[in-house]
């Protein structure tokens, strides 16, 4: 083996990725070649230089609590906070099932009321009314055009939090994190001396939460209603239900305001912003204009969760214009950028309905 061939194999040799036969040949060459041996030493030197600045113990002390805080905020919307029982997965499932069951009961009530009572007016279907019913409202008479599954999904698909600005790194002193660092991927058989200490720090942190860290959830409310199709009475009824739910909800409501169309939006989204305009236009069935506004919204400054939801909303707007190929492209983009995207999962379930009835009320918020 000559120097040229050896040098092409040095990288996999250094990384232990070379088959045994080639490895033996490279070793043999290195024994008699100081030049190639020096190159191999360089590879090791580069590896020693490859490090990541460690944020330090104070950062790790708060890390888990911050994750849990964010999980709480993002996984559970205000309405879910009212409904949820203890238990993670079950809690999440109930967020679908309870509003769906309530909505189903509501529809059953409408059918019964309209069909059995002599002289009762035939229930009419308004152009656009949808709202996941509050637990206590299941028996109340209401018109309901949107399938209950859609109403139920709505409460889930909107729970996305906005982040509070992280600070500027104060210093960028570099501390290479070497392979000896203990708390790496568990499969690696490495020193674990500090793992205990690290975990103890995390465990000791259970009480304090970092309220300053993350901002409130934008558009996280499931109480999304198309005002166009709602009577004064039903609007008042909706507000009453919201008031009932509010005290039990997380204090996230403090960060929200309500738009004229009944959509709850984060305070920081100004009423004239493209994002807000897109939703308002969609409510008015001006889908093409809504698409333009949504594209402008996506071209602006958005955090990752908002962008994820915004892209899904764009896909829906495209579907509503029967531009299914364009929507497919957007969905593929969401898939690529946001693996396991919950809003996308939800929309996929709704999509056949949207494609069948492109004029219906938007399901994505």
């Amino acid at each position: 083996m000559d120097c040229r061939e050896t040098q092409t194999l040095l990288t996999p040799f250094h990384d232990g990725e070379l088959p045994a036969a080639d490895r033996a040949r490279v070793e043999e060459h290195l024994r008699g070649c100081p030049g190639c041996s020096a190159l191999l030493a360089d590879l090791a030197r580069a590896d020693r230089a490859a490090g990541v600045p460690d944020p330090g113990p104070a950062y790790w002390d708060r890390f888990n609590a911050r994750v849990m805080d964010r999980v709480e905020r993002e996984a559970d919307g205000p309405r879910a906070a009212v409904l949820r029982p203890k238990g993670g997965w079950v809690r999440q499932q109930l967020r679908y099932l309870v509003p769906a069951a309530a909505a189903a009961a509501l529809v059953a009530g409408i059918v019964h009321y309209g069909g059995m009572r002599p002289g009762a007016p035939t229930p009419t279907v308004p152009p656009a009314v949808s709202e996941p019913a509050a637990p206590g409202s299941a028996g109340e008479r209401r018109t309901e055009a949107e399938p209950e599954s859609r109403a139920a999904k709505k409460s889930e698909g909107t729970a996305v939090a906005r982040r509070v600005p992280p600070p500027v790194p104060a210093r960028e002193r570099f501390a290479p994190v070497t392979r000896e660092e203990p708390d790496r991927l568990a499969d690696r058989s490495l020193s674990s001396g500090n793992v205990e200490a690290s975990r103890d720090r995390a465990a000791a942190l259970s009480a304090p939460s970092p309220p300053k860290t993350f901002r409130d959830t934008p558009a996280a409310s499931p109480q999304v209603t198309a005002a166009d199709g709602m009577t004064q009475g039903s609007q008042a009824e909706r507000k009453k239900m919201e008031r009932t739910a509010a005290p039990m909800a997380e204090p996230q409501g403090a960060g929200k305001t309500e738009s004229a169309s009944g959509i709850r939006v984060a305070k920081e989204a100004s009423p004239g912003s493209p994002c807000e305009r897109a939703r308002a236009l969609a409510e008015r069935e001006q889908i093409r204009e809504a698409e333009a506004a949504q594209r402008a919204c996506l071209a602006g400054d958005l955090d990752a969760p908002s962008r994820e939801k915004g892209l899904v909303f764009l896909a829906e707007l495209l579907d509503r214009q029967e531009r299914f190929a364009d929507a497919d492209a957007v969905i593929a983009d969401v898939d690529r950028r946001f693996p396991q995207s919950r809003p996308l999962d939800l929309y996929r379930q709704q999509r056949p309905m949207v494609q069948k009835q492109p004029k219906a009320v938007p399901v994505t918020r």
Binding site: T11, V168, S198, A304, F338
Partner: protein, 187 residues
């Protein structure tokens, strides 16, 4: 709070976490947070964005746990999410995330250097930091996963979604650029 989760396998912890066991999820976070942070740092190249992406990674993991199949290895699944979160934060250019002091993002500070540490040592560290930060994310990522995390080409390929041969060529380029930045070698 927890008793002894050290011996637990990730997959089992993930299954428990999917069932609502917050302690198991906490253990998963603790076991992987530093590796996730490093991977996110390699995608973003700075501490504040790495923090953002690392937090987002675990939120996504939590949300996705019900659909996670414990028969599949947890590590690659987690790394894939972390890398994508890192790229997303980078691609977004941290839009809407203004930089302000007073939060919880890391300051890029390791335990304070001891008095024995010389100015020359600090200078060397700064040069190393600059060299790493100056690499393109794709090269930084393979360097971190290989040289810091000790992953195989196959594991890195799985995370990055590239062929193993590309991992090797990127490693080679990354090392050359690092050596060039550090002075000497890498020619």
């Amino acid at each position: 709070m927890r008793t002894d989760l050290d011996g637990e396998k990730d997959e089992r912890l993930a299954a428990q976490a999917a069932g609502g066991d917050r302690g198991a999820f906490d253990a998963l976070v603790t076991r992987h947070r530093q590796a996730v942070y490093r991977l996110c740092w390699s995608a973003t190249g700075n501490a504040a964005d790495a923090d953002d992406a690392a937090q987002e990674t675990f939120v996504r993991v939590y949300r996705s746990l019900p659909s996670y199949d414990p028969a599949r290895p947890f590590g690659p699944w987690l790394r894939k999410i972390a890398w994508n979160c890192g790229l997303t934060v980078r691609r977004d250019g941290n839009a809407g995330v203004p930089r302000a002091a007073g939060g919880d993002a890391p300051e890029g500070v390791d335990p304070a250097p001891g008095p024995e540490e010389s100015a020359a040592g600090n200078e060397e560290r700064r040069r190393v930091a600059d060299a790493m930060a100056g690499l393109p994310a794709e090269l930084r990522m393979v360097m971190v996963l290989r040289a810091v995390e000790g992953l195989s080409y196959g594991e890195i390929a799985l995370t990055a979604g590239i062929p193993a041969g590309t991992v090797m060529s990127r490693l080679s380029r990354a090392r050359k650029r690092l050596l060039a930045a550090l002075g000497g070698g890498g020619s």
